[in-house]
């Protein structure tokens, strides 16, 4: 990942910042500037997600991508946030194996690093609410 590309999305990665359409009530993550339902009638506002949700599906990664080697094996999951949208993120810090329907909440963690000399990428991961 390039430094400028990461930096442009930094605030939405750190703080789960998305958008919300006041007109129809739909939430968007990543943020959208127009509502898919209401088009030009939509009224979009910034929204910070609560960070709670549940696992829709998951997989355990053993062969990690570059910059993630030290974290393998790790659990990568699709998480449905309570407000509606889904996102892909790591689930960490669990004493039990992940399962579909597991309740999770967001935490601030290191996503990866650009080698020894490169930037450290921070962002959102999830931990189980119980266990």
């Amino acid at each position: 990942m390039s430094v400028p590309r990461f930096w442009r999305k930094l605030d939405s990665r750190y703080n789960l910042k998305g958008t919300h359409c006041v007109e129809c009530g739909e939430y968007f993550y990543p943020p959208r500037n127009t509502c898919v339902n209401c088009r030009r009638q939509g009224q979009i506002e910034a929204y910070r997600f609560k960070g709670t949700g549940e696992i829709v599906t998951y997989t355990v990664i053993h062969t990690a991508a570059e910059g993630f080697e030290k974290q393998a094996p790790y659990t990568l999951a699709i998480i449905k946030l309570d407000e509606g949208p889904s996102l892909t993120a790591q689930v960490v810090g669990s004493s039990v194996n992940a399962y579909i329907g597991m309740r999770v909440r967001s935490v601030f963690r290191k996503l990866g690093e650009g080698g020894e000399r490169g930037m450290i990428y921070y962002g959102t991961k999830f931990i189980p609410v119980d266990g």
């Binding site: 030290k70 601030f108 963690r109 290191k110």
Partner: protein, 349 residues
């Protein structure tokens, strides 16, 4: 003018390693170590945790506890001896991650284990002068002890954040006064680029910890005219369980006064988080009107002492974020191999 703690938040990683497990690897006597150190297990960061992520978690907890608008925070100061970057302030990451940016000042502090309390003092100054509305001071570390070194038994991870303000209706604990005692003492250091610190053997006890903590503590009590028996609780920097217990006795504080804040036996030395973790654990159970005496120590060396009185506000904010006891319970125990991986002691290239 009244200055004080508007809110506080703590964070301790969930992983622990027992003294027995470290001693097993090096062939040391675990029972003798536990008796000598009064430490039984220590916290270990996850593979993706560092001083910045710990500082953010503690800061978010502090913001959640008092429900203030983070844009009111005019200064973010993070004290640590394990800042993830040599150049690039941890405090910028924290400021962004709690929504306090962009109109704020920020800097990182370093003073071994007392960088967090030095940050509190700086915030007190800025708040009382009117330069800022609220200040956020953090002590957070993922401390390193070289494999096989005595420090490896206690070097742990954790952090505490305090929001400092002066609106009387918002203060949960009044800081009545603070006093510092500093000299150039070679008890502990780490050179740039080195992975592990060095300690100056006989310097670590009497000329380091005990001299600075006793002089600092007595200095503050003399300055404001208080005695140990005027306080309900006391917290002293806890590199192990033995030092704070001994220094409390030397100063005339009782075991009962230090007991609620003595968290080191279960989590180890959280360095910049150490004394603040004790203060947080004490605030978790103190009642309005209770007085807390606290002295942080940092090698190099110096101490910062604080005289604190808890207000009615504490009852309102206390349960909005996890207490230290809640953070400590339900740990995941790991073996030395996993510990080595978590701490990055295994190099892949």
């Amino acid at each position: 003018m009244t200055i004080g703690i508007v809110s506080y938040g703590a964070y301790v990683p969930r992983y622990r390693i027992k003294i027995e497990e470290i001693a097993r690897l090096w062939g040391d006597d675990a029972e003798a170590l536990k008796r000598g150190l009064m430490v039984y297990e220590k916290s270990v960061p996850d593979v993706d945790e560092d001083a910045a992520t710990i500082a953010v978690e503690a800061a978010r907890s502090a913001v959640a506890r008092c429900e203030i608008d983070p844009s009111r925070i005019g200064a973010v100061y993070t004290g640590s001896e394990s800042h993830p970057y040599a150049v690039k302030p941890t405090s910028t990451i924290v400021g962004q991650a709690i929504g306090a940016t962009p109109v704020m000042t920020a800097a990182d502090f370093e003073f071994a284990c007392k960088a967090g309390t030095a940050a509190i003092q700086a915030c007190m100054g800025l708040v009382s002068s009117g330069m800022i509305d609220l200040g956020l001071a953090i002590g957070a570390d993922v401390s390193q002890g070289a494999p096989g070194d005595a420090l490896e038994y206690t070097a742990a991870a954790g952090g505490v954040a305090c929001i400092i303000g002066k609106k009387e209706s918002e203060i949960a604990a009044i800081i009545e006064d603070t006093y510092s005692f500093t000299t150039d003492t070679p008890d502990f250091w780490r050179r740039e680029g080195m992975a592990y610190p060095e300690h100056g053997g006989r310097f670590t006890g009497d000329p380091g910890y005990f001299k600075h903590v006793t002089n600092g503590a007595r200095g503050l009590m003399e300055k404001i005219g208080t005695k140990p028996e005027d306080y309900d609780y006391a917290v002293f920097h806890q590199p192990n369980g033995k030092f704070p217990s001994r220094v409390a006795k030397l100063l005339g504080f009782s075991k009962a006064q230090i007991e609620p804040g003595l968290v080191v036996p279960k989590i180890g030395n959280t360095y910049s988080g150490s004394c603040l973790m004790g203060i947080a654990a004490t605030l978790d159970q103190a009642k309005p009107g209770d007085r807390i005496f606290a002295t942080a120590f940092g090698s190099g060396a110096g101490s910062d002492s604080f005289s604190i009185t808890v207000t009615d506000k504490i009852e309102e904010i206390r349960n909005r974020a996890p207490t230290v006891a809640e953070l400590i319970k339900d740990p995941i125990y790991i073996d030395y191999a996993r510990y080595a991986k978590h701490k990055g002691k295994i190099r892949l290239s």
